[in-house]
Structures are given as structure tokens and as C-alpha cells.
Amino acid sequence: MVATTPATAFDLDRAWRLHPQVSVRPEPFGALLYHFGTRKLSFLKDRTLLSVVESLGAAPTARDALQSNGVDGTDTERFRRALATLQASHMLVERTA
């Protein structure tokens, strides 16, 4: 499973966005994500995580996206690991511009 990828590499101080081939479908429990390139499905089991993911594209860094959604302190590490898992499955890509 993807989760075996070390979830330590995700850099909160860089700019990220959803992969252009990823579709997001909000659900009561969070959201479903589908990547048309890898044909993989993922689940976001938290509405706040969904908001964070959706705001990544416009935020200067992932840390800014977390803070604008009220995620800070001890929660930060758990969210960082969730984002790292999304990165490992190519749902998130780094924004270069």
C-alpha cells in the first residue's frame, strides 16, 4: 500500500497543488479523490483536510493552507502526514511557479 512510503518527506514550507488529473467529490465524511492518471481512488476522512487540500493551490505554502483552516499546534504533524500520503500517491504535486 502507498502508506508504506515514508510519510516524512512532505515539506510544509513549499507550494503544492492537486494534480491536474485529480477529481474531488465532497462527501459527508470528507471526500473521495480519484486520479485519472493512476486510476487510484483515495478517501479524505475529514472535512478540514478537504478544505486544506482545496486551498493548497492558492496558498504560498502548505503551512499557510493549514493555518488558514485553523490547523496548528499538535494537529499540524497529523495533517502533514496525511498530505505526505497524498503526495506519495501523486494526488498532490509541488507547484513550481
Binding site: M1, A3, S23, L33, R39, L41, S42, K45, D46, L49
Partner: protein, 434 residues
């Protein structure tokens, strides 16, 4: 038909996909709470994916065909009706459909419907026996990111495959895989229905998939459609269930299963996947005439939820049909509730139980703890098992027989000319009149 459907719980989906919140044990997502599977048991506003069989027509007559396909049904959805279904799926944000049949590619408008779907944000994975996958077509498929192809093959050798799928079908499938490989298509699916004749070939199937750059997908044989008649001959023996389970555990996420083997989880460790019957909760079937069933393995009036042709269309059926509403209420474990494996096996497959005459709240006919055999022994003496509600099988036998004609001029008169005008032309009085 092609076994496309990854019914119970979506195709390569949740199962093979990890996902931030997928496994509460690892809980990469924040605030682990209710398990996802609990959300899914209550159903979603739209299916995660669904199976859509476009036609009952098929060039083959596989003995285990889930939909008893062969002949086209004159009532099948028109091109415009199919496009209207796609419009609904797009609006409901269904990410992709598993298209099958029958052999979907024999529909003259198949490629038009596929193009319409993929240009409307509905991805397509279609199942085929490979008959129309020419080199040219393979190149088109490889160029479309929103398309995936699944080649059906039920034996790693022609002998084993053709016994189930018919003469020549092995060569057809391998030719299609070669064309896809040559066109640069990667990770298309090689889809195998596990039978007692091919369980011993799992390594060979894997090698075959690797050779063509494909991904192996194994699914469970169901006693549905013509499978009801071939089940006793084809379904894996108890010791083969264990062999299959061990092989699946060893290969993990490298092999897709459409979550179809969750009944094997009662051997111990749960297999990757949702381990949930997704019928009417996260998956369903639209059949060629637009009827909506709870799952592709349950084409029977008992599991018919409605039709896309009624007012409100597919969305109305999915969200409000009485059947789906009932399937989304908590299910009783019945006779299985006290089994310590119930939480992972959930009593197994609804369709497998139904078509073998077992009660839906009892054990699966292939329960690996042996409860299924006991239950089957109890029903076999009783009434007959339910039959599929429809049958589009070819009316002819698949087996080739000598054609009963003789060639050459017969013993009597020369053929009558087409220009002969006599009303008695060609008439020969029988011997009785002489």
C-alpha cells in the same frame, strides 16, 4: 459477458488504494473516528463507480456468463439514451464506469459513447474479449488517459481458457494484449475469473500480465446467469480457496481483486480492500435496457431497483428506490452473527447466496469455515434455486458439429430455373400417387 464489473466494492478502488483515511489502523488522516466502511454501509449520494452493460450481444458464449449474454435485446438503450445517462453520471460526479456486456465493442456506437463519456469527465474502463482491439484501435486507446481496458481471460493456456470461453478466445485475447502492448498502453488489466481449473495457474497469469505490461486482476466466480449452470463444475474446491487466499495475501496490492474475495478473509487476516458488499451502497449495475440492479452479479427481479428510463432517471433510482434504501439499512448477520470472522467476511456475497438457494442472512456457499456446505445440504433437498430473470444466450450450441448437407447434385431432376413460370415448376408427384 465480460466480467468487468468490479462489483462489490468498486474495482481497483478503495481496496487497492491506500488513501489517507482508508485504514483507520494507520490513520494517516486526522481524527480517526468512524470507519469508512461504516459510512459506505449507509450508502453514498452517488456510486463510487458502477457497472454498465451496454449490450447483451456477444460473439462468445462463455459458460459462466453473469448476464447470460449472446443475443442483442431490441429494447437496448439508444445512443442518445446512453449519452443522457453519461450526462447524469457527470452531474453526480461518478468518476468512472466499468463498461461491459455482452461484448460492448460490438455495439456500432460503442466508441462514440466512450468518447462522449471521457470528454464529459466520466472515465471508462471497459471489459472486452479483445475481438475489436486492432492495432489501430489500440493506439487510440493508449492515447486517452481517461480510458482503461480490461481483457478477459480465464485460463493461462488455451486449453483451460477455451474450455470456458470457447474455441479461439485465448488467441483473440492474447492478440489484443499484444496490440495494446505494442501501442504503448501500460497497466491495462488482465482479468481472470478464478475457477477450479485455473487456480493452479495463478503464477502463470501473473507472468502473462507482466509480459504484456498489464496488471493482473482476479475475481470470484459467481453462480449468476449461465454461471448457475456451470457453478458445480467450475467453482474452486475448498482446498483451492486456501491456495487462492495464500496467493492473494502474498501478492497484496500488486493484484487487483475488485474486492471480490472478502469471504476468504475468514481464513484469518483480512485481504486488502473494503471487505464490504457494496451492492446498492457504493456500486450498482445498469443493464443494456436501462434497468438498474444492485450489483452486476444479481440480475434478477429480486434485485431490480428501477430503470433509467423512468422520470428522474438514474439519480432517482440510486437515491430513492425502495430496494437500495433497504440495502443501506443495517443488515442482520443472521446465522453468521456469532461467527468470530463476521466482521471481515460479512457473511460473503449476496448474489452467491441467492443463486444457490441460501438465505441472504446466512453463510456464503463457499464459506471457508465450512458453514456454507452445511447450509447447502439443508436447502438442496428443499425447493429449486432461483433462476436468472432473463436469458439472452445464443440459441445455437457452441459446439461445432458437422453440417448436415451433402454437396453435389441430387439423384433427381436438375434445379428449377428461376425463370420457370409454371405453377407446378419443381413439383414431383410423390410415389403414393403413382
Amino acid at each position: 459477458m465480460t466480467l468487468l464489473a468490479d462489483p462489490p466494492a468498486t474495482p481497483s478502488a478503495p481496496g487497492s488504494v491506500p488513501g489517507p483515511a482508508h485504514d483507520p489502523g494507520r490513520s494517516p488522516g486526522p481524527r480517526p473516528g468512524t470507519r469508512l466502511v461504516d459510512h459506505f454501509e449507509h450508502g453514498l449520494d452517488a456510486p463510487i463507480c458502477l457497472t454498465w452493460e451496454l449490450t447483451y450481444a456477444c460473439n462468445l458464449s462463455c459458460v459462466h456468463c453473469l448476464s447470460s449474454s449472446g443475443r442483442r435485446d431490441p429494447r437496448e438503450l439508444t445512443t442518445d439514451e446512453c449519452k443522457a445517462v453519461v450526462d447524469e453520471l457527470e452531474q453526480m460526479q461518478v468518476f468512472y464506469v466499468n463498461i461491459g456486456g455482452g461484448e460492448p465493442t460490438v455495439r456500432p456506437d460503442f466508441w462514440e459513447i466512450v468518447d462522449y463519456a471521457t470528454s464529459h469527465h466520466v472515465g471508462v474502463k471497459f471489459s472486452t474479449n479483445g475481438v475489436k482491439i486492432t492495432p489501430e484501435r489500440a493506439r487510440e486507446l493508449a492515447a486517452n488517459d481517461y480510458l482503461d481496458v480490461q481483457i478477459s481471460l480465464d485460463g493461462a493456456t488455451a486449453e483451460v481458457n477455451d474450455h470456458v470461453r470457447g474455441p479461439g478466445s485465448y488467441d483473440t485475447a492474447l492478440r489484443a494484449m499484444q496490440n495494446l502492448h505494442d501501442a504503448g498502453m501500460r497497466n491495462f488489466k488482465l482479468s481472470v475469473v478464478c475457477t477450479r481449473y485455473n487456480i493452479g495457474q495463478l503464477d502463470e497469469f501473473k507472468a502473462l500480465a507482466d509480459r504484456y505490461g498489464a496488471q493482473l486482476r482476479l475475481t470470484r466466480l459467481r453462480p449468476s446467469g449461465r454461471g448457475a449452470d456451470s457453478w458445480d463444475d467450475l467453482h474452486p474446491r475448498p482446498e483451492q480457496q486456501r491456495e487462492l487466499y495464500d496467493w492473494l495475501v502474498a501478492h497484496g496490492d500488486d493484484v487487483l481483486t475488485g474486492d471480490s474475495f472478502f469471504h476468504l478473509s475468514a481464513f484469518g487476516q483480512a485481504l486488502p480492500g473494503l471487505n464490504l458488499c457494496g451492492a446498492g451502497r457504493v456500486v450498482c449495475l445498469i443493464d443494456p435496457v436501462g434497468d438498474v440492479y444492485a450489483c452486476p452479479f444479481a440480475i434478477h427481479d429480486e434485485f431490480l431497483a428501477g430503470t433509467v428510463r423512468a422520470p428522474g432517471g438514474f439519480q432517482e433510482v440510486w437515491r430513492h428506490s425502495a430496494l437500495f434504501t433497504r440495502l443501506r439499512t443495517p443488515q442482520s448477520g443472521g446465522a453468521c452473527a456469532s461467527c468470530r470472522f463476521f466482521d471481515t467476511c460479512k457473511g460473503g456475497c449476496m448474489a452467491a447466496k441467492f443463486f444457490t438457494g441460501l438465505p441472504l442472512d446466512g453463510p456464503d456457499p463457499e464459506c471457508v469455515q465450512g458453514y456454507g456446505e452445511q447450509a447447502l445440504a439443508a436447502v438442496s433437498a428443499a425447493t429449486s434455486t432461483p433462476r436468472p430473470s432473463q436469458d439472452h444466450s445464443h440459441r445455437t450450441e457452441r459446439k461445432r458439429r458437422p453440417v448436415p448437407v451433402t454437396i453435389g447434385r441430387g439423384p433427381s431432376a436438375p434445379p428449377v430455373s428461376a425463370c420457370a413460370e409454371s405453377p407446378l415448376a419443381g413439383f414431383e408427384p410423390g410415389g403414393a400417387l403413382r
